[in-house]
């Protein structure tokens, strides 16, 4: 098998540079590539465009890059949990492109799949459709959306092997599988990196061909955004 294992997050992030476009998996703080984000903060890459469903919270996730004003532009569907984000956006410091969540997922999957463009009903008749081709199919209006283009995709999985095969857990799966192979280089971090042959080929969610570099994250905080419980 082709070996995708790199020693650590520093090696995994080799080549990131100012002005690049990154895709980042995760929904809220669930399933985010914590180690890669920490490294991007440490490397202090600037003027980056981030494609990520959310923007983290003020002091975690992509919020860490926002605090240091490393992000030039965000492409997201929902950014409601982040006061610093809202401040930078309303003041014009931060460029923001808000797009429907399903369109975000599908534009990632299109990039992964070599599909340059597709039609979707989401956003027709709204400001999301401005400047986009509209067309009727089966009596219903749709708009043309394009595959993303990005330099790096940073994803987080539960388990992986050195061939780059990935298995996700629970709803921490979210956008992570769709972003694998959707950028020039896909960096996967996993909680547990196993030798080849450890994973059942039937249970692999993302085959290693979509992953260029894989490493085991040093630690995972896995912060919970909204702790909701019921009484026993």
């Amino acid at each position: 098998m082709i070996n995708k294992k790199v020693a650590n997050v520093t090696e995994a992030c080799k080549g990131v540079a100012d002005g690049m476009t990154f895709m980042l998996g995760g929904f809220g703080l669930s399933g985010i590539p914590e180690n890669a984000i920490a490294e991007l903060v440490r490397l202090n890459v600037n003027d980056v465009t981030c494609i990520s469903n959310n923007a983290g919270v003020d002091d975690f996730g992509l919020g860490l890059l926002l605090q240091k004003k490393q992000i030039k532009k965000m492409i997201s569907s929902y950014v409601g949990e982040n006061a610093e984000f809202e401040r930078q956006m309303l003041s014009g410091e931060l460029e923001v492109e808000l797009i429907p969540q399903g369109t975000l997922a599908q534009r990632a999957r299109a990039a992964q799949s070599g599909i340059p463009a597709f039609y979707t009903p989401a956003g027709y008749g709204t400001e999301v459709a401005e400047g986009k081709e509209a067309r009727e199919f089966n009596g219903k209006m749709h708009i043309l959306e394009h595959a993303f283009e990005a330099d790096f995709a940073f994803v987080k999985a539960w388990k992986g092997d050195t061939a780059g095969n990935l298995i996700f857990k629970g709803s921490a799966r979210n956008f992570n599988p769709n972003m694998c192979g959707a950028a020039t280089i896909t960096v996967a971090e996993v909680e547990e990196l196993l030798p080849v042959g450890s994973l059942d080929p039937n249970e692999v969610h993302i085959p290693g061909i979509f992953v260029q570099r894989i490493f085991q994250g040093e630690r995972y905080e896995k912060r919970i955004e909204q702790r909701t419980v019921r009484k026993k």
Partner: protein, 218 residues
């Protein structure tokens, strides 16, 4: 008397039928799950990748890898499945989800809905709402009839940026159940003790009132 948020949810729960896959938005819609009859089978879909969502976990059993679209910790029922976001919106866009219940800031009498942006003031994003309203055959809006300033949220035309066009079919507010049809709001039911006059006053858009407007039952 006008309904509480719980009562709005309770009334909407009556619209949930046996065998439905249902997507619940944040806010009042989330409460609907608490009022669905026990003798029917319903599965809740969460657009971040869960089908067969269960109740909140017991204290100490929260799993950061298992949340709903509101980022709340949840549980999964036996028979649940997890999947990626693209497949999740395949369920939504492909009309496999039978019923979508979501909140709104404004609804227009042609079925337009606005619920994601107040220009220059509140810009949280549309999340999955644009996909949901553009795709669902069956959309129920759960909201208060008027905003905090007392202005009607049922309008001739939306003033805020739209989430979707001509898509809302039914609205349940603290005052009434309404159907959106033929470019007007059709009054179906009123909250117990609420008069047709009160509803008329709180509705800016064209309101069609039949001779008899029954009170809601729960």
């Amino acid at each position: 008397m006008a309904l509480s948020k719980e009562q709005i949810a309770q009334r909407i729960a009556k619209e949930v039928k046996d065998g439905y896959y249902v997507n619940l938005g944040i806010g009042i819609p989330t409460l609907v799950a608490n009022f669905v009859r026990d003798d029917i089978e319903v599965e809740f879909q969460s657009e971040n990748g869960v089908l067969g969502m269960g109740p909140f976990p017991f204290e100490g059993e929260e799993d950061p890898d298992l949340i709903n679209a509101g980022k709340q910790t949840i549980t999964a029922l036996p028979g649940a499945s997890f999947f990626d976001s693209a497949l999740s919106f395949s369920m939504i866009r492909g009309q496999h989800v039978d019923l979508t219940i979501l909140g709104a800031m404004e609804v227009a009498q042609n079925g337009d809905i606005a619920n994601w942006k107040i220009p220059g003031k509140m810009v949280k994003g549309m999340g999955g709402a644009m996909d949901l309203v553009a795709s669902a055959e069956n959309i129920i809006v759960a909201m208060m009839h008027t905003n905090r300033a007392g202005a009607s949220k049922l309008l001739k035309q939306c003033s805020l940026p739209l989430t979707g066009v001509q898509c809302v079919k039914k609205i349940v507010t603290n005052l009434a159940v309404l159907e959106v049809r033929d470019g007007a709001f059709h009054l179906l039911e009123r909250a117990p003790g609420v008069s047709v006059e009160e509803i008329k006053k709180a509705t800016e858009g064209d309101l069609v009132v039949p001779e008899n407007v029954p009170e809601m039952t729960f």
